[in-house]
Symmetry: C2
Subunit: 566 residues, 2 copies
């Protein structure tokens, strides 16, 4: 990269004022500072400053991937439909609408890579022959296309985005776990080097499949995901998957008799607390869902919330919805608000959350209009459940399951990286068979690993910005220094000193920008702050005495220093 630039040459020029169509601070700033330009929904041009940031981000990724022992390749950006039919994913991706492609002139369907499991596994089917070739991790950095229904937030959820994707092949499960761990550690180094505040969390692995996955989340105020992380250990998880130790409750040891009490029009947990004066932790909440068209009842402690992602996984359901009023009435015999595990039709499947396990003398709906049961005991009033499942949502303030000491706190994050253990599914479907040490053919164990590099650029813009503009960490800043002469008039002391400094720093190889425009000093400072260069050098009144002012964009610190010390 050429290390120097004059601001008059930067294309496109920055602009003042608000921008339309951008929802988040980072998105607005990237537009105003000319880093990106929208071509169509979710499609962008990248300007020269964005390219410099992207090159630095990708150079860090490349170094760490190569250092991890992975081999850089490039997989065809256009993928034959036949490979997607082989893996069985074409219909699903087409149904979701995110796969984009067309027919070529010979009538074959080609798709713009939304991901590359199919093509890389097909390559392995052709060229991976022996256990001696493994462990093997292939990686590439290139565009992906996902035709999002609602592209938004600039490069965050664009339709075209750059991604580093890697795929590991191992002879056995243990090898897969080792390769996964190597990549996971490389990812931590990568995001640390880029300058991110990030956490690594357990994640629901969604559409990719496979078991065991972690997300790397950049912490921002505008993240699409809600995260819980421990203030004591390194535990962190997407709220969709987070586990926790919830606050307990001292249930009475007294064995009062079961009573059915009238609760006229009192339906919600809050209404019951007020009406009866007892804690929600003494109540069992019973919700009716419909999982793949079959009603199911879910019980959890009254103060907790059912986590539908967890519930869906427990049920192995494709579609899970909360039941309509009519379904609730048909299933429980009572309107919404009066369901409970006691006296429910035995045909209805009943899921108990782990929070219910130790409850005694609790309140629950009586499956009759305006009636609840009080002082219910498992084993006395109804059979003790045969199993419990974690189907409630963990929350800030809960204790950490990993260290049992820390407290979870909530933050929002943007997923910048994701690592998965894919197991053998793809390899088996695509017919990859290598010869083991015992000469028998078998399918390799795979992992896949992604980092969104254009997304990293945008995530950093969201994570580090203020009302004045972007604030790049040095590791990925487009230029390290901006020189702002107080005036840039021919013959002025400031111009002469600024030109000389620019020349000297350029010679030395510093990444430096000179604001050579003949605008106001204020507008130049404003642009330097908008662009987000880490260090601003003001060449002002004292330039004649060899003194300049150095401003740290991140901390706002200002100091007068000798021009020779820069």
């Amino acid at each position: 990269m050429k290390p120097q630039m004059r601001v008059s040459q930067i294309f496109p020029a920055s602009y003042r004022g608000d921008v339309t169509g951008a929802e988040t601070p980072g998105h607005k700033l990237l537009l105003r500072a000319g880093y990106i330009r929208q071509v169509a929904a979710g499609l962008f041009h990248l300007g020269p400053l964005a390219m410099r940031v992207l090159h630095k981000i990708e150079a860090i990724v490349r170094e760490e991937m190569n250092a991890s022992g992975a081999l850089e390749v490039n997989l065809s950006l256009l993928q034959p439909g036949d490979l997607w039919r082989q893996s069985g994913r074409l219909e699903r991706y087409k149904h979701d609408g995110i796969i984009f492609g067309g027919k070529d002139r010979k009538g074959s369907d080609l798709y713009f890579a939304p991901t590359a499991e199919e093509v890389v596994t097909a390559w392995a089917a052709a060229d991976l022959r022996s256990h001696k070739q493994m462990p093997l991790t292939l990686w590439q950095m290139d565009w992906k296309m996902r035709d999002e229904l609602r592209p938004r937030m600039g490069l965050m959820r664009g339709r075209l985005f750059r991604m580093k994707d890697a795929y590991s092949f191992d002879a056995d499960e243990e090898g897969m776990r080792r390769s996964y761990q190597v990549q996971r550690e490389a990812y931590a180094r990568i995001f640390t080097r880029m300058g991110f505040r990030f956490i690594s969390v357990q994640a629901d692995s969604g559409a990719i499949g496979g078991k065991g996955s972690a997300e790397f989340m950049a912490l921002t105020n505008v993240g699409e995901d809600t995260l819980l992380n421990c203030d004591h250990c390194d535990y962190g998880a997407n709220v969709e998957k987070a586990e926790s130790i919830f606050a307990g409750f001292e249930y009475s040891n007294e064995s009062k008799p079961l009573r059915k009490i009238p609760t006229p029009n009192v339906r919600t947990i809050e209404e019951l607390e007020t009406f009866l004066g007892i804690s929600s932790r003494q109540m069992v909440k019973t919700l009716i869902y419909v999982a793949d068209q079959v009603p199911v009842a879910v019980c959890c402690r009254g103060d907790l919330t059912v986590n539908e992602v967890k519930l869906k996984n427990v049920l192995g359901a494709g579609v899970l919805e909360i039941a309509t009023e009519a379904v609730v009435t048909a299933a429980t015999g009572a309107p919404v608000g009066f369901a409970g595990p006691l006296g429910l039709k035995s045909s209805l499947r009943l899921i108990f959350d782990t929070s219910v396990k130790d409850m005694r003398s609790f309140l629950c709906g009586a499956n009759e209009t305006d009636q609840h049961f009080l002082d219910v005991h498992f084993g006395r009033d109804l059979p003790a459940p045969v199993g419990f499942h974690d189907v409630h949502t963990a929350r800030a303030g809960d204790r950490c399951v990993q260290c049992n000491e820390g407290t979870l706190s909530e933050s929002r994050g943007i997923e910048v990286g994701h690592v998965f253990m894919l197991q053998q599914g793809y390899a088996e479907k695509m017919g990859v068979a290598f010869q083991g040490a015992d000469t028998k053919p078998r399918a390799p164990w795979m992992g896949c690993y992604g980092i969104g590099t254009t997304r990293c650029l945008h995530a950093m813009a969201e994570q580090q910005c203020d009302e004045k503009g972007l604030i790049w960490p040095e590791a990925i800043a487009p230029y390290q220094y901006a020189i702002i002469p107080a005036a840039y008039k021919e013959g002025s002391v400031a111009k002469i000193a600024a030109d000389a400094l620019f020349e000297r720093m350029s010679q030395r190889g510093d990444e430096v920008v000179l604001d050579d425009r003949d605008g106001s000093f204020g507008s130049k400072i404003a642009d330097a702050e908008l662009f987000g260069f880490p260090k601003i050098i003001v060449v002002g009144r004292k330039a004649g005495e060899g003194i300049i002012e150095l401003v740290n964009r991140m901390t706002g610190e200002r100091s007068e220093v000798s021009i020779d010390s820069v």
Copy 2:
């Protein structure tokens, strides 16, 4: 890039024997050495060795483009159909079949970039406002897709290929010429640095439009283009466009009377030479073409060939074809073989080639069956032509038009770069208007500049290879050294010495490959030669004495040197 590699880890492994579906030596070697793998016609994966070569090629391009003052950007790979309708090129590209795309989920048409004039000009329409922003050259390096009818020769004419494309914007024509010259000089440096034997030639600018263009041609035996270049000066041109000074002829000063002579069934120049015993240089050859459905007659000296590309340009024709027998008969009144400028219907347009200008006492067809005219004189037997056009094909042995001293010789080449002056056509069509110094709006003058980087990789494979394998120049070699131990058995002197050397060179940052496989020495040498590493270090019998053999892949030179001197 990680500088070291063990051959056992290279994926995919090389293979022996012939490959199917590859026509050229370079294509076969790239497949055998695992540099490329075909996914579908014209679509390839690139292996780790190819990626290293490609990175080096692209790094040279990046350095020179940045040094030229151009700004690196990235233009959306998917382009809205509306921009192509605005430029008026969509129908043409669709008709040619090379544009590939589809409908997105909202029903809009998106095309995978076959080139980027439309999107970059539309960007300029939005962000280029003042003459102060120019000269401006934007460049990018990314994939392009052209759905070729007959993809062939691997990366040479693949459907997906990587290209550096640049676009210059200037306030006036002089500026455009300067920007063009800057890029042209950068191109010469780029191909020189890559290590190409190449020439720069004038070219027909084809479908891109605009006036003034040059091609950079890598010289190979398998090139798609035929070139003529001077052995004395730097003149070179594609044969489609080459000019030359053809050998003259002493026409008699005697003014013999015009005669019509019988030439029974004697039609071709060769037959006439034999039949009459006169030189073809004394004959005017007259060919009938159909240009956009209108017949036209073309006269050139008998020993020369009509150049249809030149003729098409002179006529400004869209479609040019040689006339059918029926059209010839209708147009000249005689069958094929007896046309001539004398006595031709006056309604038929007549084009005279420059070669006819000084001819006297010549022979030509009489537009009657089995009849020719002899001793024809312009100004006496028929009116002297009002103008002459260069519509013949220059050929090896002709004198150079540029230096008037050298002789042209013929070679074959692969186009690796192309520079064009686009003028104002795109800017006007896409509505780009900048404010001139006089505050009036006007359209910028543009240029466009392309280098096929994956094509460079393949072109070098064709230019530098032998029956043993690829031969990379150091500047773009994937690794500089291959260490081949004569044996790689635990405890052997060769293994110990090879490991130590590999370790030392790796530490020092050398790009070095160690063949750590336990195959035969011969097969390892064969692989190193196939892969094309510039220097092979054989660690053999004398390793114990600290002596190794250094083999230069390009020259074949072998020398014994001290292990410490490497």
